[in-house]
């Protein structure tokens, strides 16, 4: 009788534990979803009305990050005609930023858009990485630690902006290549990244993210009709350090308008919170269920054995 009670007690305890863990986990994950970003995080406004497609930012990035020699000189503007698999140029292991040209109807001149990591407040790449290779620094940069990377490339799929790229030329020493906001050489010391310093048109404006947001909104307000009344990156993917101002609709300059307005983390945290619970509690719980359901059979078996013996 005592044995039976203790077993039941064990199962009860297990169930209570499961509920407790679930409740606690929910509280924790809710807290992480309300993270508004570090208070003094830095940011950049990319103003497409100012960019003239000179590619100075690409050249500066190449030198600052010690990237390989480009296929074409940085003053070769025929690269804007390049299409690969029907798509415009994108960042890869040899270039952390590219400028693309967009012909938008209603404009008598083309628009140019610089592309690089957005440095999200709550990065999807970081969320998806199971070895914690990514870090969002208080300065705003999303940096990456090659030493712990196992080359699973989940971050490449997780990123809503298709930014992290894999260094296929060294697959056995896996490395993800992406813009790091010049963290090591500049941002850490409070300096603007190389591309921003190189831009002749000040199409890139650097400062505290909060100030940059104000700058962007002021530009919209001061020249009504010049810009689309939206700062791309204020809320996209839960807010990003790099934000865009555009005179043309964002989807016409290659920016996805389907990017959710909340961090990608919010879509997966429910699932991610369950994983440790499933791994620790379920084995004990279901083992308990199994023992309980087969208990009567075993008692019968024992009684039969006793009867046979007797």
């Amino acid at each position: 009788m005592n044995k039976q009670l203790s077993r039941r007690g064990f199962i009860k305890g297990g169930l209570a534990g499961t509920v407790a863990v679930t409740v606690l986990k929910n509280k924790e994950t809710q807290a992480s979803g309300s993270f508004d970003g570090y208070p003094d995080t830095m940011g950049v406004i990319v103003d497409l009305s100012r960019c003239v497609g000179c590619r100075s930012c690409e050249a500066a990035c190449n030198k600052e990050q010690g990237l390989p020699e480009p296929a074409e000189p940085f003053d070769d503007f025929s690269v804007f005609d390049q299409l690969k698999h029907g798509q415009k140029r994108r960042t890869d292991e040899t270039r952390f930023t590219v400028v693309n040209r967009y012909e938008v109807s209603g404009f008598d001149h083309p628009l140019f858009r610089k592309k690089q990591c957005f440095h999200c407040n709550e990065p999807a790449c970081l969320t998806s990485c199971f070895v914690n290779a990514y870090t969002k620094t208080p300065e705003g940069a999303v940096i990456y630690n090659q030493k712990v990377c196992v080359g699973c490339r989940t971050c490449m799929i997780a990123c809503p902006f298709y930014i992290p790229t894999f260094k296929y030329s060294s697959a056995f020493k896996p490395s993800i290549m992406k813009c790091i906001f010049c963290y090591d050489t500049r941002l850490k010391e409070g300096k603007a990244p190389a591309c921003v310093d190189a831009c002749p048109q000040e199409a890139l404006t650097f400062g505290k993210r909060g100030d940059m947001l104000e700058v962007a909104k002021q530009r919209i307000r001061m020249e009504p009709g010049k810009y689309v009344d939206h700062v791309y990156g204020e809320h996209e993917a839960g807010g990003t350090s790099w934000m865009y101002l555009s005179p043309a609709p964002f989807d016409q300059v290659g920016l996805s308008t389907n990017v959710p307005k909340e961090p990608v983390l919010n879509y997966v945290k429910g699932f991610l919170a369950i994983v440790p619970m499933v791994l620790t509690i379920w084995p004990a719980l279901f083992a308990g269920f199994h023992l309980l359901s087969t208990r009567k059979d075993r008692i019968k078996q024992l009684q039969n054995d006793e009867n046979q013996e007797g």
Binding site: V52, E69, P73, D75, Y168, K208
Partner: protein, 176 residues
């Protein structure tokens, strides 16, 4: 008449003129006083200095288009006029006196937080030059190519991997 006396008379006449004109607020700097040409070289590194033909541009644009409110003609922008509606001539008319060569340095970033300063989004010197020059050149179909105004230096060729530093053999293509 002695030359010294003539000079003195001229000075008196000028002083009188200034005194008469000043209250009327027409102390505007005359375009004829401006230099024929200006060498813009303070930022030259990857590109050489710009030989700016000031005389030609005087006939193409208003003083205030570039000098905003410092030459005594009043600002072109209504926003600037909210504070700088006087037409007084500034102590200096140089771009670099207002526009910082390092707009993203700590000093300027901290200045953004100062509520006393309305120039919240003032471009840096390089931005001011290019936004003003290229903006107008686009509107008036002036030259807009980088090397139309300044030639690339050796350091520039290295940065842009062009000229002497052009990629050999087409450079290295991406791995996939």
């Amino acid at each position: 008449m002695q030359p010294g006396k003539k000079m003195l008379q001229a000075a008196w006449a000028l002083a009188l003129g200034v005194m008469l004109l000043a209250p009327a607020g027409v102390l505007a700097m005359d375009a004829d006083d401006a230099p024929e040409s200006v060498e813009i070289d303070s930022l030259s590194k990857f590109y050489g200095p710009v030989e700016f033909d000031h005389a030609t541009h005087v006939s193409l644009a208003e003083c205030a288009d570039c000098h905003h409110h410092t030459t005594g003609t009043g600002p072109a922008s209504t926003n600037c006029a909210r504070c700088h509606d006087g037409v007084e001539e500034g102590d200096s008319v140089s771009c670099s006196d207002c526009h910082a060569a390092e707009p993203f340095g700590q000093e300027n970033l901290e200045e953004m937080e100062n509520p006393e300063i309305f120039h919240f989004d003032k471009p840096g010197l390089k931005g001011a030059y290019h936004l003003n020059c290229v903006g107008c050149h686009q509107e008036l179909d002036g030259p807009t190519g980088c090397q139309d105004c300044h030639t690339m230096t050796e350091a520039g060729e290295e940065l842009f991997n062009t000229g002497k530093h052009a990629p050999a053999g087409g450079g290295k293509k991406s791995g996939h």
